[in-house]
Amino acid sequence: MPVGVQNYTTHFFVTGDPLIYGVDVSIILVSLAIVYVLTRYRKWGWLWREWLTTVDHKRIGIMYLIAALLMLFRGGVDGLLMRTQLAWPNMHFLEAEHYNQIFTTHGTIMILFMAMPFIFAMFNIAVPLQIGARDVAFPYLNAISFWLFFFGALLFNHSFVIGGSPDAGWTSYPPLADLPFNPGPGENYYLLGLQISGIGSIATGINFFVTILKMRAPGMTLMRMPLFCWSVLAACIIIIFAFPVLTVALALLLIDRIAGAHFFTMFDGGNPMMFVNMFWIWGHPEVYIVVLPAFGIFSEVVATFSRKRIFGYSSMVASMLAIAVISYFTWVHHFFTMGAGPGVNSFFAVATMIIAIPTGVKVFNWLMTMFQGRIRITTPMLWTLGFIPNFAIGGATGVMLSVAPADYQYHNSYFLIAHFHQVLIGGTVYGMLAGMYYWWPKMFGFKLDERLGKWAFWFFNIGFYVCFLPQYLVGFMGMTRRVYIYPPGLGWEIPNLISTIGAYLMGVGFILIVADVVYSIRYGERDLTGDPWDGRTLEWSLSSPPPHYNFARIPRVDSRDAWWEMKQRRQRGEPMEEPEPLRPIHMPKNSGVPFILCVAFFVAGFGFVFNWYVFSVIGLLTVAICLFHRSFDYDTDYYIPVEELEHHEAALGRT
């Protein structure tokens, strides 16, 4: 066999591991099944017209949601594999190479390809409906954002079977991530997957920032907006300032790796420390990007299910904006132990502690919202209630970590691991699941089953504590993160075993959530009113699911909790205003170009991963052509005529 072909067969496809062969087989089977179903039921056209080319924020939101759940599955399986390896000392379930790849993909996927699309799903589903808009400010860009994320994630996930996964940790510090210590395509996958989806994230940040500032219904002043919209606005501000830093850091490291530059190399004047700084200048604000929208969701859920106004609205807004600003002054706490002087460490320690103050205030405000309310324990509320003790403990350990000298003992230990899982799962994942259960009827027209949902919650929540509380302990026992094996006799075995059991309980919780979705598609309670939870904000004034133009008439808002007030007025029998006559609605046209553009990005990225620049050139040229096409495309919008609107509204039982 010629050498080239031999290299191709041994290096291009990842070989030699039964786990990976298993994945190969299942990928092929699932792909075949999808192709078969689409062909058998003649759904290709439907897929293209209704989904791949859509610019409707609701559909884009649903696609984000599906992607996030798939990635939660992949990241979760990675987590379970790690926990299995660590269940007992001297296990040989995974070897070092494999373990290193798995913790790298676990972290990267959970943050970039699970948490980010999950929050974007919620942005897309709820924001335009809550502010009384018909779509986002830039619907076409919104589609591009989604497909960039999708193909970035797809590229990253290819590494598992083609070429090999990255293995330098989700933080990817050079020099370890630089070429001399990390040859092969794995690290390139990381850099390009993040880069491509990162461009999409910046665009989403800009898109929702503009949407919230410019597209609110008449009368909805900023201080009358639902708190979820405020949280999205705060998160968007952080995205716009933080993500470009990541873009630059990834680009420089990529140039190091593929063009032999020396930005971060160990020799020839490179400065690895610079990458660490840039990574965390993005990385710390990033955790607030993913947790602020969760705070917003909790605020909506708590008010709705306590049948009470949110307590301390202005204080909530102030604290979110304070968090957005202070989050830029804490990044060095990720490396107190990297030799910055005591002055620098003190500054960042105190800044980090200060951010706990507005966060704590929010918790008190949620409690006071429930106080003297009427609390209904539904699934979204259950995830919210589960969040509060979780985040209280996670926040407390966060304050402990910010104490710089004490951090010298926590840094890189399992104490840290337990802390950030507690805030990221307890905060972001609980928040997004609360949001998913809350807005599910709005998106799909039926509720998720409450009984299964509660089982899922209890498995996941109990599993969470069983999994992560022992990790605080084992951190104090000196166990460091990212070790794939440990000897017996250090007292680590029992806490690790318990932790593994907890991880599997969480896995059962996840399966129950999936079961809930599958069960409810068939048997879930249909939502015919559009307002299944007795909601407070404008999205509940629409039918479930809403028509593609959302609002036949743009609502007029004169208070917070606009929908609640309208319902109150109706209940009191106050005379309703005569509805305005319908007018034709201006809508964006669907387009296949965003999809093609992002396929081109994928091809270019794949070329860079393997240094096959022909692909890169073809891909980037196609990108340029797509952009050119859009610049001169004037046929991008249309009007829905009044007759059609009347027809739609009548079908929904609304006049």
């Binding site: 490179g270 204080s315 407390a396 104090f476 000196g478």
Partner: protein, 296 residues
């Protein structure tokens, strides 16, 4: 809810019980068993911070369970219901105020100890210097005062401050001996100082705490703390009996792989400084005076 929270609490209690019965002996919780002043300071800070955060966390969790139990939406619940009550200046001042006070106290201790730990634990004229280099995947210790070197273990005298000067000739790692004190990174092209001191003789496990590749999990080392006399005897013995570390030998050490414990009677002159310069130190303007203790 009370029913369910009870179950939840029982689970946690059961977990805690398991740990006590089957688990680990208290000495294995190394961070809480300091063997020197640095680790002791850090332990004190940890307990202080736990106490301070508990002031907020415990009432918050208790309050949540109380509120949920009291204000459940049940037909016969006669608890007050005020759907429009959503502002209270007094309450808001209280819970902006309490965290501010707590953070103020904690910040004061933090800043004080952050500065204190950059200085030697005790004032002595001649602290011991140990130069530490992290390699793939082993630790090299050099004693400039004695001219000897070791791999994957080091001996230190009890009761005398030791300044570990840290660098790396491989991707960065982190030097951590929990019972003696917190960690500090070893970074190529940099020399960083970590003050530690052992007050009790003993063998303390250290480990590389920052992921550095395939052999990372095996990067543990022993720190042996012995009396001053024993330390000097040990150094003299290594000087007389161990083989020298040659340039060639060092190159072999740098190559990726795992190593047993080794001792060397000498090492190439200026090895530590040259490593730092080579790895990028020559491009940096930072102060290299902490290398001033070189006496080879």
């Amino acid at each position: 809810m009370p029913n369910r929270s009870g179950r939840w609490l029982r689970w946690i209690g059961w977990l805690g019980g398991c740990l006590v019965v089957t688990g680990c002996s208290p000495e294995q919780i190394v961070v809480f068993h300091p063997a020197g002043p640095v680790a002791a300071t850090e332990e004190r800070l940890i307990w202080t911070s736990i106490a301070l955060v508990s002031v907020v966390v415990v009432p918050v969790i208790a309050l949540m369970f109380y509120i949920v139990a009291r204000y459940r939406d049940r037909p016969n619940n006669n608890a007050p219901y005020r759907p429009k009550w959503s502002e209270s200046k007094t309450l808001e001042i209280i819970w902006w105020g309490i965290p501010i006070v707590i953070i103020g106290i904690l910040a004061t201790f933090t800043v004080r100890d952050t500065f204190a730990l950059t200085r030697p634990p005790e004032k002595v004229s001649s602290p011991l210097t140990v130069q530490v280099t992290s390699l793939d995947w082993k630790w090299l210790f050099q004693y400039p005062d004695h001219g000897v070197a070791t791999v994957n273990y080091c001996e230190i005298p009890v009761g005398r401050p030791v300044q570990f000067i840290l660098t790396s000739n491989a991707p960065m790692n982190s030097f951590w001996v929990p019972q003696l004190g917190g960690q500090e990174y070893t970074m190529p092209g940099m020399a960083m100082r970590l003050w530690l001191q052992a007050d009790k003789p003993g063998v303390y496990t250290g480990r590389g705490a920052n992921f550095s590749g395939r052999g990372y999990a095996h990067m543990t080392f022993r720190v042996v703390a012995v009396s001053d006399d024993e330390f000097n005897r040990w150094a003299a013995k290594v000087k007389q009996t161990a083989p020298p570390l040659t340039e060639d030998g060092y190159r072999k050490l740098v190559a990726q792989g795992i190593s047993p414990e080794l001792s060397f009677s000498s090492y190439p002159k200026g090895l530590f400084e040259d490593t730092i310069m080579m790895e990028g130190g020559m491009y940096m303007k930072h102060d290299m005076s902490i290398l001033g203790h070189e006496k080879t």
